[in-house]
Amino acid sequence: MHALLEVSGLRKVYEGSGRRVEAVRDLTFTVDAGELVCLVGPSGCGKTTLLKCVAGLLNPTAGEVLLGGRPVSGPPPGMAVVFQEYGRSLFPWMRVRDNVELPLKQKKLSRSRRRELVDDALTSVGLSDAAGAYPWQLSGGMQQRVAIARALAYEPDVLLMDEPFAAVDAQTRADLEDLVRGLWRERGITILFVTHDIDEAVYLGERVLILSASPTVVQEQLKVDLPVERDQLHTRVAPRFAELRTHVYEQIQAAKRGVPLSKD
């Protein structure tokens, strides 16, 4: 069976005003259907570039991305992205419900089906009461929940998350991590989760892809052999968790040392 998402030989070079920056050198990895994979790497290692290439928002310089065997050349209907900047990703002129519903209107779903999906998604993220509010009336964590609900309602084959919790406080962050884990288990969705936080990557992922510093390659693929049932209290103090995070940490340190530091 083919992997759901295949990234092969991905390379991205930015060119502009005499400067040539190789953000991503050569990335190859796959994500199977129903997997939760975390991408972790040192800051400035081209994670966002990679994610945008996967999402079809940027054209790679070389290499290709296949979703369900089909090459991605623009944003495909089977992908939803949750961005880090929730405040700039939700439309402030629309109420929560309309924000979640807008992409479904583009999909030309019937009114009743849209209603069903929106209600279901908002309930899943615990925001059924906030449907009539504007995003800016909600806290940061709740806004990111709305963005997650919008992605869920879209029913993507792959859910891409670009450092979604980097801008919220630690407690909210823990809640949101559990929310994502829970949604993944309940719904069997496929998630590619980008983060710079090692603990988060190990806690969330079934598999962690460790990226090198820019220009980026995959440093190591690590299977996370923690139990499926995880919680903030016990998982994070489990000896195996500590071993895994130490390993990832060392790999990232090695990655930083191994490649000459680029200027970003």
Binding site: K52, G56, A80, F83, E85, F91, P92, P103, K107
Partner: protein, 262 residues
């Protein structure tokens, strides 16, 4: 408990207090005036109901307002459409910008004699004059608003397949709407000025025409009432504008208030 009512009364007091002071000052300062050109306010107010009868409102105020609305609306349509195109495409912007800056710098009243050559001296001329002045703030603000659409919002829209007219309607124009409204507001005051000026040239009715007629006929108190009517008209239009804006931009004011708080 009476906080709401008290708040409303207090706001009302703020709104009317300065106008009251000014009117009283005018009243007192002009009360014993014998200057023909500077009649007592009492005389002006006495003349008011005699001058601005229902017939005059229909014959002079209504045509003025209709011309203003026609010119303003066409400026809004043209400004929004062109502004959206120019704002969306960098190349078009590079080509158009110098020309726009030049055209904007030409004071619209100067165009009245020119437009008269093309459009004659009828309503078309007056509407064209109003539109030619109103269009610039709307156009330039739309360009700025459209090009300033946030990059993350743009990418979000793209990744969810929101493109074409859906993107224009739900993302671009909504995101630009605060700027567009700033342009519309400027255009409204320019429109009122041009309405009066266009009626001072070769007109047979309208507010501007009537005021000039009174002035030429030495009906000075009547002339002053005309100026009062103009002021009241401008005030009424800005109140209507504010109501519309509050409805359309409610989200924006809420967003601003919430980011000020945090």
């Amino acid at each position: 408990m009476s906080g709401g009512l008290k708040g409303v009364l207090l706001r009302l007091l703020f709104v009317v207090s300065l106008p009251l002071v000014l009117v009283t000052a005018w009243w007192l300062a002009s009360d014993d005036s014998t200057d023909v050109y500077w009649p007592p306010l009492r005389t002006i107010l006495t003349a008011f109901p005699d001058v601005w009868t229902g017939e005059r409102l229909r014959a002079d105020v209504l045509p003025s307002v209709l011309r203003l609305l026609a010119g303003y609306t066409s400026a809004a349509v043209v400004g929004l459409a062109l502004g959206t195109v120019i704002g969306s495409y960098r190349r078009v912007r590079a080509v158009c910008e110098p020309v726009l800056e030049f055209l904007r710098a030409v004071p619209p009243p100067v165009l009245v004699p020119v437009i008269m050559l093309f459009a004659g001296i009828g309503d078309t001329m007056k509407i064209a004059v109003i539109a030619s002045g109103c269009v610039w703030p709307i156009l330039l603000n739309t360009v700025e608003g459209v090009r300033a659409v946030d990059s993350v919002m743009s990418e979000t829209a793209r990744s969810y397949g929101i493109t074409g007219t859906a993107r224009l309607r739900n993302v671009v124009l909504r995101s630009a709407s605060p700027q567009i409204f700033a342009g519309l507001r400027q255009a409204l005051s320019i429109g009122i000025i041009l309405m009066v000026i266009s009626e001072m040239f070769a007109a047979s009715n309208g507010l501007g025409f009537t005021i000039v007629q009174f002035q030429r006929g030495f009906a000075i108190p009547d002339m002053w009432t005309g100026i009062l009517v103009l002021g009241l008209l401008g005030f009424a239009l800005s109140v209507v504008f504010r109501l519309v804006e509050r409805r359309v931009l409610g989200w924006y004011h809420g967003l601003r208030a919430s980011s000020r708080r945090s």
